[in-house]
């Protein structure tokens, strides 16, 4: 229903849900009447890693095996990682202007410019530059920040820690709310309860979250003066700690970050719950006299793999898409770092931050797929 956007992330929950659907049922009834909510989705084809086993030709591997699946999935990550590095590398080379501008004094002579160019390797052909850069990156050397002179990797890693703190707090709020609202909405489908929960979800994915952040600051910091508006801890404190003095700085950014995952998880869980409740086995369970709480247990068990996959992706979006919220709240995370790298034209830092965030995202995706295969026996059969 939604498209991909980490802010609003859209599309993704559907992508996983339908991806799984096609894994389970084959390359799929395009219009499954029970799942009309998912018919227009980002991805109806099997995951690329699975195309070989689950191709149009209908070939299937005989032995389902998590390890084999994991190995295949890991092999698929290698070209992706290299392409991601290539995109990050090229990003700096599409920037208008000479990459030397930032380090070169304004009145530098031609010879000095040529010398520096040779020293930085900018005179070599692009593919060679890329190879050398990749080699250094593999050794953990992403260059030094132009603004601070410190190694990019260390700067990024310190900031990522803060982003992870924020993402985890937001995940706890957003996923809990999303699961609860989704289960309730799916169970009471087409009633006013469903309508209220669905409205929450739609509002969650439609709200410009940087604006929501401002609103929360207006209400809780400016008008009520309950919580601090910006920063990540009382002045004088350099590192994060899990006490109230620090936590109160986390509340508003975490709530702001959580609305998109909340909306998406609600919609996913609602669709899954409705889907499962309309299946024959539920009727059989009820006919056999199982109480509704027991039925619910089955719903949760069946919805878990897809819901977990959606939540895993959302976590990735929160890590990578935090720049707007971190800017609003001056939260010293990777997004804030990215923002300052952009405006100081600190290209090595820009490149390094994007590379590391994208790699986080790729590996999180990998983990989600493997975890999903491990808990859902249907997937490794592909």
């Amino acid at each position: 229903m939604r498209a991909a956007y980490s802010l609003h992330p859209l599309p993704l929950w559907e992508r996983v849900a339908s991806r799984q659907r096609s894994r389970v049922r084959g390359l799929s009834p395009r219009r499954d009447p029970r799942s009309f909510e998912m018919t227009v989705s980002a991805d109806r084809t099997p995951h690329p890693a699975l195309r070989a086993t689950f191709s149009r030709k209908g070939r299937r591997k005989k032995e389902p095996n998590v390890l084999a699946y994991t190995a295949r999935r890991i092999v698929y990550v290698v070209p992706i990682v290299i392409s991601v590095a290539l995109v990050c590398f090229l990003l700096v080379h599409i920037t208008p202007g000479d990459p030397l501008v930032a380090v070169l004094p304004a009145d530098a002579s031609q010879e000095l410019a040529a010398q520096l160019r040779a020293a930085y390797g900018f005179d070599r052909p692009l593919p060679v530059q890329f190879g050398l850069w990749l080699l250094r990156a593999l050794h953990g050397d992403l260059g030094n920040s132009i603004a601070t002179g410190r190694p990019v990797l260390a700067e990024v890693m310190r900031a990522v820690g803060n982003t992870v703190t924020l993402a985890i707090a937001a995940a706890i709020i957003g996923f809990t709310m999303g699961i609860l609202l989704g289960l309730i909405a799916g169970y009471f489908r087409e009633t006013w309860i469903d309508k209220v929960a669905t409205s929450f979800a739609i509002a969650g994915v439609s709200v410009p979250h940087y604006w929501l952040g401002m609103l929360l600051v207006i209400i809780f910091s400016v008008q009520l003066n309950w919580l601090p508006a910006v920063g990540a801890g009382p002045s004088g404190s350099n590192s994060w700690a899990w006490d109230w003095a620090h936590l109160k700085y986390l509340v508003l950014p975490a709530i702001t970050t959580s609305v998109i995952p909340m909306g998406i998880v609600t919609r996913t869980v609602r669709a899954l719950t409705g889907d499962i409740l309309s299946q024959d086995f539920v009727e059989a369970l009820r006919a056999k006299g199982l109480r509704e709480t027991g039925v619910f247990r089955h719903v949760i068990k069946n919805a878990a793999p897809t819901a977990l996959a959606v939540m895993g992706l959302q976590l990735g979006y929160m890590l990578g898409g935090s720049i707007l919220i971190e800017t609003v709240f001056s939260w010293p995370g990777s997004g804030f770092l990215l923002n300052s790298a952009i405006f100081q034209r600190d290209l090595p830092l820009l490149q390094g931050t994007i590379l590391i965030l994208a790699l986080f995202f790729v590996f999180l995706n990998l983990l989600v797929d493997i975890a999903q295969a491990a808990i859902d026996p249907r997937i490794k059969r592909g």
Partner: protein, 300 residues
């Protein structure tokens, strides 16, 4: 002459039969969405916002660029300034309405561009298949390795601030998504009998894609693209909010939100107004897209 009574009875029978006029698919979809109150309300709100943006110069509004140091940050409801004034004393109502012009263009244009490019790429990848499919779809996968906010900001950060650059960045973000949808719908259609029949009767690949495939996949891709508009609006305004899109003093909702941020301690509700506009447009497009989706699912 003997046929005459016969045809007369046939006519009578036809007249007596209930009028079952066969409607086309799109007519049915249109009728269904007209009955959906939520969708119609959203369409109305969007229509109002679009019309006022287009007609802004003829609405008799204040000059959105003309500021005045003596009337800065008036509250909502001040006489003469129904929505107050901004940090430079410019009329908020005029700026919000004029702001719609740029905000809507930079929010919607990327989706339209991506729709054209992505649909073409996806149909070609899906219909031709083979190596071309692998090449296109693997390239698309690379862009999926970036969270889309990050990708948009990275590209427009690298290209530098500017309206054109932010439109380019957002288009690049949405093309892979639309390509994936288009490809998967096309692979579903390409092996159907009518495509086979067209091929057997000698139609070329381009004709088949244009005539037989496009018509059958366009609806699904279109609905998906409409659902992207709300994301695009939020992202486009977000880029301006960061200072990567529009430059002052242009009225644009994201940028206005940014410049008014410093005013939240003085006049918070005026500062929040531009965000409310983004929210309204975004939620209306979302609901409209949902309505369109269920209207197009005729079986339900």
């Amino acid at each position: 002459m003997s046929e005459l009574p016969l045809s007369a009875t046939a006519d009578a029978a036809l007249q007596a039969a209930p009028a079952t006029k066969a409607r086309g698919y799109w007519a049915t979809v249109g009728r269904r969405i007209m009955r959906d109150k939520v969708s119609m309300a959203c369409a109305l709100v969007l229509l109002l916002i679009f019309l006022s943006a287009i007609l802004a110069p003829w609405l008799g509004l204040e000059d959105p660029y003309k500021g005045s140091m003596i009337r800065r940050l008036r509250h909502i409801g001040t006489t003469g300034y129904p929505l107050g004034t901004d940090e430079l004393g410019r009329d908020m109502l005029a700026r919000l309405i004029y702001g719609g012009r740029l905000s809507l263009v930079i929010g919607i244009l990327p989706v339209i561009l991506a729709f054209c490019v992505g649909t073409s790429l996806g149909i070609i990848a899906g219909y031709v298949g083979g190596k071309l499919n692998t090449a296109i779809m693997r390239t698309v996968d690379v862009f999926y390795a970036f969270p889309s906010v990050l990708l948009a900001i990275a590209i427009s950060g690298a290209l530098g601030a500017g309206i054109l650059n932010s439109i380019v960045a957002l288009t690049i973000v949405f093309v892979p998504q639309i390509t994936r949808v288009a490809e998967s719908v096309t692979t579903g259609v390409r092996n159907m009998d009518f495509v086979e029949a067209a091929r057997a009767s000698g139609a070329g690949a381009f004709t088949i894609m244009r005539v037989h495939i496009l018509g059958n996949v366009l609806g699904a891709i279109f609905v998906y693209a409409t659902s992207l508009i709300s994301v695009s609006m939020i992202l486009a305004a977000g880029l301006s909010f960061l200072g990567l899109g529009t430059k002052p003093p242009e009225p644009e909702w994201g940028l206005m939100l940014n410049t008014l941020r410093t005013a939240i301690y003085v006049n918070p509700w005026v500062a929040a107004l531009p965000g409310a506009m983004i929210f309204a447009v975004s939620i209306c497009f979302n609901l409209l897209s949902d309505g369109l989706r269920s209207a197009m699912d005729i079986r339900n």
